[in-house]
């Protein structure tokens, strides 16, 4: 398909950041082409400047970021020299774009049809009724179920995947020569992601567009890319055909990134008989009722439906599922941030589900949690030392002792004792997650629940944190309930895996069983949806 005519040609582009930013340039001397009929993947971790060139193409650079060198040639024209008005005439018409967050990228107050029709309106195409017809045709093309209804729907009435399809419909409405997709599947569940990727690939083939696809995920790259451009710190690290880069990365950074991806390889079953369970969950149920009242009738969501499993001391159990599967609710019930409606949670014989008030508070130290969001999980007003020591202090340990212990823990998680006097905002995401781990360890809990503990992190950082967890598990023989949406991560660290869907346990077994010989269709579906899996399998 690749006919090698560059639709877009970026030449020596340098974009300067405003003063006071952490580096001088968003991108520096970047050059690459995007040709008709190809999908050019721009890959990089957060802060690599991978989206910046796309923004320059669209003329949507953030305030303060300005080009200082180079050119962006589109159809022979340097986009950097266009006036806002000229640029506007290109947007939507000849260059389409889709964004990361389908939940917020659509105007919540406008019907879907009207938002699509706007594209035609912006460029003075078609009459009012024709626009609606075209919009309907587009919705059909992007595969939205019941397009007649969807066209009259408001965005909040659609699922995330459907919204992303609407975004794609809008971007493709006027058959642009170039489509820019900025992390279009990052916010989606893995199965939905697979469908959207499929759709983009399909449309690209059918229309022969040039696609510039920005992502952080090498799995996605493996799924869709014709060519790859790897970026780091605003510079291109490696540029080449997808297969070449994936199979024979020349640059260390690329290699490191690829290695950091949790692989399909499953650790050997850590054999032997399972000892008596530490945690025994029996018939757990939890229903969320949105309170009715004056504005809305009550609604029920069955978050946990008769969930039972056990966890042995020193064992790591992984809970895997897509959003809405109830996996997080399960974790929150186990640490008793939520109270289950029925069922028992026996922790070494104590029924945790029955505890309340002060009794519960005094027992809490036995189960701790590592949270998802490294930014929200630390109080911005407390020094790191206090954040760790507050647990022991709340449980009666004198302050100076608790602080000394905090220093030791910080050493343990690899941050060094000096960190105690610093504030969370002085640390990066990965470092904060280490602090979160130290905080969970401070109380010597019998069980740690890690709720998506690495999903907010860049892949290389993710690998490091997983490594740390693995190390701590060995050293301290931790018992871990590991909740994640990412089957590969689970496979890497867990002994046992439980797959959940809509509040129920679909399948549970050893990591190996679940990963290599899934019994249930849903599990298989999940596994198949993992991007890049086919590629990896081919390599293996």
């Amino acid at each position: 398909m690749n006919d090698n005519t560059p639709v877009l040609s970026i030449r020596g582009l340098t974009l300067a950041l405003p003063q006071g930013a952490d580096r001088d340039y968003a991108v520096e001397d970047v050059s690459y082409d995007v040709a008709r009929g190809e999908i050019m993947c721009v890959v990089g971790e957060s802060g690599s400047g991978k989206s910046m060139a796309a923004n320059a193409v669209m003329g949507l650079l953030p305030k303060g970021v300005r080009p200082t060198a180079g050119e962006v040639l589109f159809d022979g024209q340097d986009l950097l020299t266009l006036s806002e008005k000229q640029h506007r005439q290109l947007r939507g018409l000849r260059i389409g774009m889709i964004f990361q967050e389908p939940m917020t990228a659509l105007n919540p107050l406008m019907r879907v049809g009207a938002q699509i029709a706007e594209v035609f309106e912006a460029h003075g195409k078609y009459s009012g009724s024709e626009r609606q017809e075209k919009a309907l045709a587009l919705l059909e093309e992007v595969g939205i179920p019941q397009p007649e209804r969807a066209i009259r729907a408001y965005p909040f009435q659609l699922s995330g995947g459907q919204r992303q399809r609407v975004m794609i419909a809008m971007a493709l409405a006027l058959e642009p020569e170039l489509l820019i997709a900025d992390e279009p599947t990052t916010a989606l569940d893995v199965t939905t992601q697979a469908q959207i990727l499929e759709l983009i690939r399909d449309l690209q083939k059918r229309r022969g567009m040039a696609v510039m696809f920005i992502t952080h995920d090498f799995g996605v790259v493996a799924e869709v890319a014709t060519r790859v451009c790897v970026m780091r710190f605003g510079q291109i690290v490696e540029l080449g055909m997808a297969d070449e880069v994936l199979d024979n990365p020349r640059h260390d950074y690329t290699r490191a990134l690829l290695e950091a991806i949790p692989s399909n390889r499953v650790p050997e079953a850590r054999g032997g008989e399972r000892p008596a369970p530490l945690l025994e969950v029996r018939n757990l149920n939890k229903v969320f009722r949105s309170r009715g009242g004056l504005f809305k009738p009550a609604r029920e969501v069955r978050a946990l439906d008769d969930v039972s499993f056990t966890l042995a001391p020193g064992e790591t159990v992984g809970i895997v599922g897509e959003s809405g599967s109830g996996k997080s609710t399960l974790g929150r019930c186990v640490v008793r941030l939520e109270r289950p409606d029925s069922g028992t949670l026996a922790l070494a014989g104590t029924d945790f589900s029955a505890l309340r008030g002060d009794v519960l508070r005094r027992e809490r130290h036995r189960v701790q949690m590592i949270f998802q969001d490294p930014y929200a999980s630390l109080n911005p007003r407390h020094r790191v030392g206090y954040a760790i020591a507050q647990g022991p202090m709340a449980n009666g340990v004198p302050k100076d002792k608790a602080m000394r212990q905090a220093e030791e823990l910080l050493e343990l998680v690899g941050l060094g004792a000096v960190a105690v006097d610093r504030f969370p905002h002085e640390f990066s995401g990965g470092q904060r997650q280490r602090i979160g781990i130290a905080r969970a360890l401070a109380l010597n809990p019998e069980l740690i629940v890690a709720d998506e503990a690495v999903s907010a992190l860049d892949v290389s950082i993710q690998a490091q944190v997983l490594e740390l967890l693995e190390e701590l598990k060995q050293k301290l023989s931790l018992s871990l309930l590991f909740i994640t949406h990412d089957l590969r991560v689970a496979a890497q660290i867990c002994d046992t895996i439980i797959v959940m869907q809509q509040g129920r346990i679909v399948e549970q077994g050893t990591a190996q069983e679940v990963f290599l010989n899934p019994r249930e269709a849903y599990t298989r579906q999940l596994l198949d949806a993992i991007p890049g899996r086919a590629h990896e399998a081919a390599m293996a």
């Binding site: 006071g20 640490v335 941030l337 508070r361 005094r362 809490r364 130290h365 189960v367 701790q368 949690m369 949270f371 998802q372 969001d373 929200a376 999980s377 630390l378 109080n379 911005p380 007003r381 954040a387 507050q390 647990g391 022991p392 709340a394 449980n395 979160g436 905080r439 401070a442 109380l443």
Partner: protein, 278 residues
Amino acid sequence: MSFFARFAQNRGALVGLVILLAIVLMAILAPLLYPESPWRMVQRPFLAPLEAEGFWLGTDTMGRDVAAGLMHGAWVSLLIGLISTSVALLIGVPLGAVAGYYGGLIDDALMRFTEFFQTIPNFALAIVLVAIMQPSVASIVLAIAIVSWPPVARLVRAEFMSLRHREYVEAARLVGQTNRTIILKQILPNTLSPIIVLASLMVATAILLESALSFLGLGDPNVMSWGYMIGAARTVIRQAWWLSFFPGVAILLTVLALNLVGEGLDDALNPKLARERS
């Protein structure tokens, strides 16, 4: 960037701060520059500004020095503004915190209570309260506080509701901290910046409210406040514009300054927002 540097980036806020400091200075210097009671009838009535030496702002209906009144009034107006705001915070913050933190029935009950106060028009309620308690500094402060706490409670409640499920708060619960500690140490400090910003605006509103009450004759007759001065000058506004003009400008400047400072604080305390706004 330091707090002050961020604050100073907003030029309006800097101007506001300078004005505010000048007014505070006026209040502090009043007893030194004008040691006599501002009620003293010291000159011919209705002297226009600059008409007689030493009476830069003229004299009022009874020959009292307007400048002296203005200086002493600064103290009263600021004091009423500050105290009534503090009282409103003392009512609103705990209420909002408890409602927002515990949620459920407690929240429901407290919010109905708050709504109830918002259903009676503010100013009307303030008037009735002052009339019932009889006008005095204490009754005015209390009345202003009673009508101005509901927004505080609502703000604090909203902040608490959004923060109580923050992961660091849940972490604090998990390590076994008591609700009291969590409210006071984990959540409250993080709600301070919006509260401070709101409080600075409330001081301004309180000063306006006090002046409106005085205008209707519901001021404390023993203290010289700006509101009193305008209220007293209202009947002679035609003969002696300066009598209501200067205190009017003083109120305007103070309220303006407080608003500017409030905006500056908002910028400085919520740096992210400031960047988006500019």
